[in-house]
Subunit: 442 residues, 2 copies
């Protein structure tokens, strides 16, 4: 036992899981540690938030995925520290795990750009809990609008603001538009859900910043067609109980909105900051740790950082984006380096990210994609998106199920998972409003 | 608007929904009020608790179910009081709804027989939140056992006690046995999930008390075959962090168990007690309000109580059981009485419960059923159970999906919804233990 090379992997997301799987046949002893017992298919999390899918449908138990991989133990635990000299990863409960190689794949947190009080009013879409909280917030807003005393109050409950027009912001606003215009259209007696305002705000002068410009134009057209109002070059200056305050040019405006969703940037987790401290590493503005071209931490060749927590650069020095593909390829690369070292091979060439393309989905039969430089939009891009996402869902079972569900919803506009659950729902309507603010901020 | 007969229905469970649907073509104006925005298919809740189904799969938004029924408004709100003289139902936020006829279908709470401190350690299976808390507790126990320092500690985490051997207790213990023996069998490295002890405790001398005796015998045989230890004629005297204390004959024993599930009795909700006070009605030992043979409250012919909250009796004076069938038939009957009164017809014959039979499922291909007096057990009973439950699930969509999922699981023993979610899971392993105790008690 003790003679084998010990690999500790922190995090069971796309990167950590790929690393573990690529070490399947290596003569190593792997311990994969995650705070959660499941791997989450994050790209579909917005569908949980908008009531199309249930959490179980986009998650797979890590233990189940790796159960046949005999050289791997899976543990539930949260890493809080690393001692790079003693080569130990330390968990919150004090347990320490010695490693010969450490692969850190713990990801990032949502950043409110220093305005942490906004978190209370504008949840982001990182975890299953946040996704169900957002679902709750959206469905509850229509319920409150139906019972509102004045048209102004109803209006505020029927105004939805999404901050940030990246892929997640577009997905959320498109899905929200479909909920209001199609799914709920016959469900209320006093309000008309079709009159709901859905406003997508972006600081940059165009949506989908990292995409080629023609696809940004196309994406804005597609989402506007669904009834979403797109405000570009605006700066959000405050978010509170009343709504959103923002600057457009020189004027400051206030928009009364009871539902604000945050699709903004990322920042380091406390563990990420700790690791940077311990290894005396440099971080970028988003708190991502700058790694060598082989994804190791400078001066610590036995510590790899992969996925969102790593600030890695390509041949031209351009930082790699925080997407699933980079994480998976990074995990596979780290595994390859470890295997090569064990076999006494020379250093491998640096990590090369092979970009298969990028996509963003806006609604049913509406998406944009950039595949090997070919720009596609509309139904074809959407079909490609559906196909690729189904392929990648880890468990076969989830694949079958998501497929059945989507097929059904495509034809009926219904949404199967429209539950308001959690603490808030069990309390009265009035208490609820304050409750989910609490749960979102935790 | 104001001239129509106003029917207020409190509760959107089996009873409330049936009442609303049977009044679809009546010249009335219906307001259905529920604390939750969804109708829950409670008989399958144990499958959520044991990780086979996701909450969204056994729930349907009430609004969606009734969206085409133009004479009905659905509102999210919690009834806290009734003024039977002024004919008004009052919600927690102070809103009052005037009625001409009131149908109360708000159900009951779990009873710990006066030992409310047990609730903290032994959650029951009433709501979606409790079901996911139970799922969390079960899966987390295996995780903790894998990391236990001593064999004793591992043993306590691998000991599961279910208190109460009615249908719910049998379903839970059978499903737990399958999780331990099949689903998780390859997933751990230090512990053997197949060695988990699952103990079903019952105060009465046999399981499934309300069923014919031969089916009780059969059910015990089936659940024992799955590896469940059945303890009959035992009295639980305490439940705490260490486990369960119980009396068998004259001796008192303590069983170290970290996971205890409560499948015991029911009691009145605060609203139920309030209603009894306001109408000066009698309640039975379980807090159910004694109603007339036409399901109205004595002296208040305009208030109907249906479902679990009603203590109704049949021709022979035997109380009707608290099952979905009684609630649905009660709802339909109340609707019929209201229609008859509006049409000026004479009083209808009293409510007659038509018992189509009773079933309890124990595991895959294992169930017992009593259909019109014919006793069936094993695979045939199980197939009947699957068929009947699929038929009754309200939404077509859920039906397709549950069917696909079950088919898949039947052949693979996998469970799709093995997520540990909620507050506890986001915290460290150690904090978690105390966290879910809190969340269960809320």
């Amino acid at each position: 036992m003790g003679e084998k090379h010990r690999v500790v992997i922190l995090g069971g997301g796309f990167g950590g899981l790929a690393a573990a799987q690529k070490l399947k046949r290596a003569p190593v002893e792997i311990t994969l540690i995650d705070r959660r017992n499941f791997h989450l298919f994050q790209p579909l999390l917005y569908q949980v938030a908008t009531g199309s899918l249930s959490p179980g449908e986009i998650a797979a138990p890590i233990r189940g995925v790796l159960s046949r991989q005999k050289n791997t133990s899976v543990l539930l635990g949260e890493a809080v520290d690393v001692d790079p000299q003693a080569k130990r990863a330390i968990l919150r409960d004090g347990a320490a795990f010695e490693y010969d190689s450490l692969i850190v794949a713990t990801g990032t947190h949502t950043s409110y750009y220093g305005n942490d009080s906004w978190r209370e009013w504008a949840p982001s879409l990182k975890s299953v809990e946040e996704a169900t909280a957002i679902r709750h917030k959206i469905l509850y807003a229509f319920e409150r609008a139906e019972r509102a005393a004045t048209p102004e109050e109803a209006g505020a409950w029927l105004t939805f603001v999404i901050v940030g027009a990246g892929a997640t912001g577009l997905e959320l606003s498109g899905a929200l538009a479909e909920i209001a215009r199609e799914t709920l259209r016959h469900d209320f007696r006093k309000i008309d859900p079709q009159k709901a305002r859905i406003i997508l705000m972006e600081g940059a002068p165009r949506v989908l910043g990292p995409f080629p410009e023609d696809l940004s134009v196309k994406a804005e057209k597609l989402v506007s067609r669904l009834g979403v109002e797109v405000l570009k070059s605006v700066m959000v200056t405050n978010i509170d109980a009343r709504g959103v305050t923002f600057k457009r040019g020189d004027s400051s405006e206030v928009l009364a909105a009871k539902t604000v969703l945050w699709a903004g940037g990322v920042t380091a987790t406390p563990f990420g900051r700790r690791l940077a401290e311990r290894t005396k590493s440099e971080s970028d503005r988003s708190g991502r740790i700058k790694v060598n071209r082989d994804l190791t931490v400078p001066n610590f060749p036995d510590i790899f950082i992969i996925g969102d927590l790593a600030h890695a650069v390509d041949e031209k020095g351009t930082p790699l984006p925080g997407v699933a593909q980079v994480a998976m390829q990074g995990g596979a690369y780290a595994a390859k380096v470890i295997r090569a070292r064990l076999e006494g091979k020379k250093e491998l060439p640096p990590f090369h990210y092979f970009n298969k393309g990028e996509m963003a989905v806006i609604g049913r039969a509406a998406a944009v994609a950039n595949i090997f430089g070919i720009h596609v939009s509309g139904l074809l891009a959407w079909l490609m998106w559906v196909f690729i996402h189904l392929i990648y869902i880890v468990e076969f079972q989830s694949r079958v199920q998501v497929f059945v569900q989507w097929g059904f919803e495509y034809f009926t506009f219904s949404r199967g998972a429209r539950l308001i659950t959690g603490q808030a729902a069990t309390d009265s309507v009035d208490q609820a409003a304050s409750m989910y603010n609490k749960s979102n901020s935790s």
